[in-house]
């Protein structure tokens, strides 16, 4: 990966953008959550991802480099001039999770949305972030009519690391979405500090 900082001008050093991913199974409310907290109407963009050749069905003689187009919905929250938060959600394409390295790069953290009626749908996302040591919170979207489970039982059912925050939320509700993000940023800060301490120990 070529990284070049030289072309950033003085003015840019003050502008900072942070990235939060919103993940989870199909139809769990990712776009809804992004829309609830975003100050702009969620925008859709498409990212072409490559490098997945090894993992795709083997078809002899076919170029191994496979590209997939992944649609993403994203929103923005401006904290202050020069500091904004960008939220990215993939509408229902959890089977492309293994392609997400590029998107996850530099992410502050992730929200894994879960539906207790289909808890297994969020396993790939949980696995993904655990393996890459990306801080994440599990937000249980409390659909009306869904059986209520308390956070500790979700924590156990997903076999999460004990410190991982589990929050009950309503993805349609702005305040609820804000709370999820606050918990995530707090947690990301704690994880980061812990890692720094580990590295000097």
């Amino acid at each position: 990966m070529v990284s070049e900082k030289s072309d950033a001008t003085d003015g840019d050093t003050t502008a900072l953008a942070l990235k939060i991913l919103v993940a989870g199974g199909f139809g769990v409310g990712k776009t809804t959550l992004v829309g609830a907290v975003s100050e702009i109407r969620p925008l859709r963009t498409e990212e072409t991802l490559s490098e997945a050749g090894r993992l795709v069905d083997d078809t002899d003689g076919v170029d191994r480099k496979v590209t997939t187009t992944v649609a993403m919905d994203f929103g923005r929250i401006t904290i202050r001039s020069g500091l904004s938060l960008y939220l990215f959600g993939t509408p229902g394409q959890d089977r492309f999770w293994f392609l997400w390295d590029e998107l996850a790069q530099g992410a502050l953290g992730a929200v894994v949305l879960a539906d207790t009626r289909r808890l297994a749908d969020c396993f790939p996302a949980v696995d993904y972030f655990e393996h890459r040591h990306i801080p994440f919170v599990v937000a249980v979207n409390c659909f009306t009519g869904a059986r209520r489970h308390d956070a500790p039982s979700v924590l156990r059912a997903l076999d999460l690391d004990p410190g991982t925050p589990v929050v009950l939320c309503d993805a349609r509700d702005r305040d609820s979405g804000k709370e999820v993000l606050i918990r995530l940023v707090e947690y990301a800060g704690r994880m980061h500090t812990a890692r720094l301490l580990d590295s000097v120990r």
């Binding site: 990966m1 070529v2 990284s3 070049e4 900082k5 072309d7 950033a8 001008t9 003015g11 840019d12 050093t13 502008a15 900072l16 953008a17 942070l18 990235k19 907290v37 925008l43 859709r44 963009t45 498409e46 990212e47 072409t48 187009t69 993403m72 994203f74 923005r76 929250i77 904290i79 202050r80 500091l83 904004s84 938060l85 960008y86 990215f88 590029e102 998107l103 790069q105 530099g106 992410a107 502050l108 702005r174 804000k178 993000l181 606050i182 940023v185 707090e186 990301a188 800060g189 980061h192 500090t193």
Partner: protein, 137 residues
């Protein structure tokens, strides 16, 4: 001369056999001259890399710029934009926008900030600011 006359006659109803629903009639990478990767200075632009119009940007009428380049410049002129926002607003795939932005960086029209690398996440002060900002929303 006769060519001109027949040319004008094509404007009749029904000659527009495609409409907006046909989708884009220019294939995406035609706008980049077939290039799928940005030049060296455009390297790998993150979705949240911020693009700012350079104060001393060369004249936008430069012949090297295509209409899509100009669209991006116009979008950046109002405020600093992320790569993702530019792609959505210009209605272009992110890959195409990366190539075009690479051109603009090389021409000195825009500057691009890199997002924070994961190893050096923003310090606690900034995270605090984010949390307070979210609470205040």
């Amino acid at each position: 001369m006769t060519d001109d006359i027949t040319g004008g006659g094509r404007e009749g109803p029904g000659s527009q056999w495609y409409d907006n629903e046909a989708g884009p009639l220019v294939r995406p990478y035609a706008m980049t001259g077939g290039r799928t990767r940005p030049g060296p200075t455009g390297a790998r632009l993150d979705l949240i890399a911020l693009v700012t119009l350079a104060a001393d940007a060369p004249d936008a009428d430069d012949g090297a710029l295509g209409p899509e380049h100009r669209t991006l410049i116009a979008l950046c002129a109002t405020e600093t934009q992320s790569v993702a926002e530019l792609a959505a607003d210009a209605d272009l795939p992110v890959g195409v926008v990366r190539v075009l932005l690479g051109d603009l960086v090389e021409l000195g029209c825009v500057s691009v900030s890199r997002p924070v690398p994961p190893a050096q996440l923003p310090d606690e002060r900034i995270l605090r600011e984010v949390i307070d900002g979210l609470r205040a929303l």
